[in-house]
Amino acid sequence: MNELVFFINNVIIAGSVTGSIYAIGAIGVTLIFSIMRFAHFAHADMMTFGAFMVLLLTTLFPAAGASIGVPTALVMLPLAMLLTATLAVGIDKAFYKPLRVHGVKPIVLVIGSLGVTLMLQGLIRLFSGTGGQSLYVDDRKEIFRLALPFEGARAPIVITEPQLYLFVITLVAVVALHVFLNRSRLGKAMRAMSDNPELAQASGINTNTIVAVTWVIAGGLAAIAGTLLSLDVTFKPDLSFFLLLPIFAAAIVGGVGHPYGAIAGGFVVGFAETLAVFNWNVLLRPFRDSLPTWLELPSNLAFVGTEYKIVVPFFILVAILVWRPTGLFKGKVIQ
């Protein structure tokens, strides 16, 4: 029974947390690709920027959350989303739009976004320092322990307060995006432009408006992903940058340009990571007596060590590009 609890804590909950963050990040990447047709490498640092804005605002007004009983960081999240969206629109105007107007190849935009990522990282480091800082400036991180009503289940299921918020906010963001894309006039125009940009223009859709809306959504989602990640662990200026590979793997696994695919891809990569580093020895322990005696189980039966977790999305990425380049859902093939 305790082994099952261990599995729930270390795979189900941990995988959902990682998967949610990858999913929200991958949705942004996939939306930008579907409208502007380039891989936006600065996305991870937009996430960091969003989290940093939350950190700044929380430090400025540490008591804002206490009055309504939620962490101050969450109260500041909408404002940080707005700031990150503004930054995203500004970056597009300053760096990507001039390139687009010249009709450059997508690879030039990709390299441009690498430049933006270096610039953002430098800027954030300049103001935040290089160390880690908790987004819980003035509040305490609640930890919930749910005891299972079974006999022999001594270990509780552990879930922290930011993880609960993470699940709720992910769900809300996904539902809101679904409604926007399928019900609103602007959302449908966005899908139309993703399908066929020339025809969208021939229908009178102002493509500049759609591009701006895409950046607003991508910036807002990036702020959510970065903040939720920093709430779960701590804020570090390079925290999100290391998520770039799994996020791109998630977007490609799901099928590039496919928002629902990005969600699925996020959870596939998230769970693959947690399953790969999970110590399977724990689950075999109850059956130890019935195993043949010549079989000696090593104490750690994980596929890869935690420190090599990053190879998992890398492997998934290579595998999907080799065997199914369009992704799980039929997405666009990056050329």
Binding site: R185, A192, D195, N196, E198, Q201, A202, S203, G204
Partner: protein, 242 residues
């Protein structure tokens, strides 16, 4: 005087239009005039610049010399979305639907600039293309070629254009659908929409044309009524395969 001027101002007029892609001229002086009640058809051999001329009218091509007028107003080098605002509709030959959007969503995109008209125009377009009604919640990418052409024309009609540009609307369709599309074109024109279309099926197209423009090497070779062009032995010999 001004009254008589306006009554004779063509819906669309092209004067000595030159243009092409990337410095290479494909159009070398095309002239056209079309009234609202007319169907104009552009025919000619491959590479004559037929589709290029249509794209020039819709602002998808840089016009380097000459001018294009809509209701007497110069429009060359205006972007397509501005031309849609001025009452022009364009149905490209290929990629003329949004494949992942449903039929209904495709049509809605046609009234993107006038969302208040969506309901009224949807009813009109469904009445005009009844086969689309039962397919309305299906992605347009799953439809047959003929149904896609209906969606594409329907999307353009949703904006209530005064001039509709069609690029080879019958390309790749079976003869049955081909006649259906030509009938529809005549009906749309009868409802007060000027039509300018490019066609490979020159004989059938000229048969419904009020004006025919035979292009060769980016210039008008023959310009006359559709019936006169069909009867002209020179046109028949060089462009209609005997």
């Amino acid at each position: 005087m001004s009254l008589t001027m306006s009554s004779t101002t063509p819906l669309l007029e092209a004067r000595d239009v030159h243009g092409g892609y990337g410095g290479m001229n494909i159009l070398n002086g095309v002239n056209m005039a079309l009234q609202t009640h007319e169907v104009g058809v552009i025919v000619g051999p491959n590479g004559a610049g037929k589709s290029t001329m249509l794209k020039a009218v819709f602002g998808l091509l840089n016009v380097t010399q000459g001018e294009i007028l809509l209701n007497g107003q110069p429009i060359h080098n205006l972007p397509p979305n501005k031309l849609v605002e001025r009452g022009m509709g364009f149905v490209p030959q290929e990629k003329n639907v949004f494949p992942s959007l449903t039929v209904k969503e495709n049509l809605e995109m046609g009234t993107y600039l006038k969302p208040q008209n969506v309901k009224r125009m949807l009813e009109q377009v469904y009445a005009f293309f009844p086969p689309l009604v039962e397919k309305r919640h299906q992605p347009a990418g799953e439809l047959s070629g003929g149904q896609r052409q209906m969606v594409a024309m329907g999307r353009a009609l949703m904006a209530e254009p005064s001039l509709l540009l069609l690029d080879e609307p019958t390309a790749g369709l079976s003869p049955l659908y081909m006649n259906e599309i030509f009938d529809r074109v005549k009906q749309i024109n009868a409802a007060g929409v000027g039509i300018l279309m490019v066609e490979q099926n020159a004989k059938q197209a000229l048969a419904i044309a009020d004006k025919g423009f035979v292009l060769a090497a980016g210039q008008n070779r023959f310009t006359d009524t559709g019936a006169a062009l069909l009867a002209d032995p020179d046109v028949a010999k060089s462009f209609l395969g005997g």
